[in-house]
């Protein structure tokens, strides 16, 4: 999706409850090029009202099998509800997308549609 977003001059900033160390490990493991922000105290997550209490997480005893990150046991953690905000040059929110089923995220097509509706391509 990176090149499609770049056509519109949109960069991605992603925030989660991961610590700085966990976010750095995540970037390295998955070869991410987007900006990752750490919010382990859930300050920003609460500020935006996207807190999900006791969400199921698989991180206990995590390991990688055939390139797929897996974990042994589920645990409950507070984390962000997957949410996308499209922000323009003035810092104004132009599009909001939030999931009521954490398994389903903003699809690439939906994000690009919103970007194309909000912005003109650059260059």
């Amino acid at each position: 999706m990176g090149p499609d977003l770049a056509r519109y001059g949109v960069r991605v900033v992603a925030l989660s409850k991961d610590s700085v160390q966990a976010a750095a490990a995540h970037r390295q493991r998955d070869g991410l090029t987007l900006g990752l922000l750490a919010d382990p105290e859930l300050k920003v997550i609460r500020q935006y009202g996207v807190e999900h209490h006791k969400a199921v997480e698989f991180s206990t005893g995590s390991f990688t099998l055939f390139g797929m990150p897996l974990a042994l046991l589920p645990s409950f953690k507070t984390m962000a509800i997957p949410t996308s905000l499209l922000v323009d040059e003035q810092g104004v929110i132009r599009w909001v997308d939030q999931t009521d089923d954490y398994r389903l995220r903003s699809s690439e097509a939906r994000v690009l549609e919103a970007v194309a509706a909000a912005f003109d391509p650059v260059g």
């Binding site: 996207v50 922000v87 810092g91 929110i93």
Partner: protein, 133 residues
């Protein structure tokens, strides 16, 4: 000599495992079905096969059948339970279209600080995500 109880237990575990792999390999690409009817049916069938294997095995059931059928039942039950946990408590979002972003500071994964002022003059897709696993 074929043992129907062992065959049923093996089939049950294979069915449950195949369904897990088929479902979870689609997770990284965010490509899971909204209503995973097929996966639920397959896991249900796995549970039934596991129970059937134990019934056919009779008493005492030995070791292999309980281990295989028990594993299948455990994984099938875990899968079905996970699906019950999928709802997110939406509705508390503090921003709407047309609002300015709420100012915040947060560290980047590099350790350097990020402030929302950096978004001015740029187009940004700000994503909240659940974190890595």
């Amino acid at each position: 000599m074929t043992r129907p109880d062992l065959a049923l237990a093996t089939l049950s575990l294979l069915l449950v495992t195949a369904t897990w792999v088929n479902y979870f390999r689609r997770v990284p690409s965010g490509n899971v079905p909204a209503r995973p009817v097929g996966s639920i049916a397959a896991q249900g069938a796995g549970l039934v096969l596991a129970a059937l294997a134990l019934v056919v095995a009779g008493f005492p059931p030995g070791v292999a059948v309980p281990v295989l059928a028990g594993s299948a039942a455990l994984f099938a039950a875990l899968f079905l339970w996970l699906l019950t946990q999928r709802a997110t408590p939406v509705g508390d979002l503090r921003v709407a279209v047309g609002d300015r972003v709420l100012a915040f500071t947060a560290p980047r994964d590099t350790g350097a600080a990020f402030h929302t002022d950096e978004l001015l003059g740029k187009r940004t897709l700000l994503k909240f995500f659940r974190g890595s696993w």
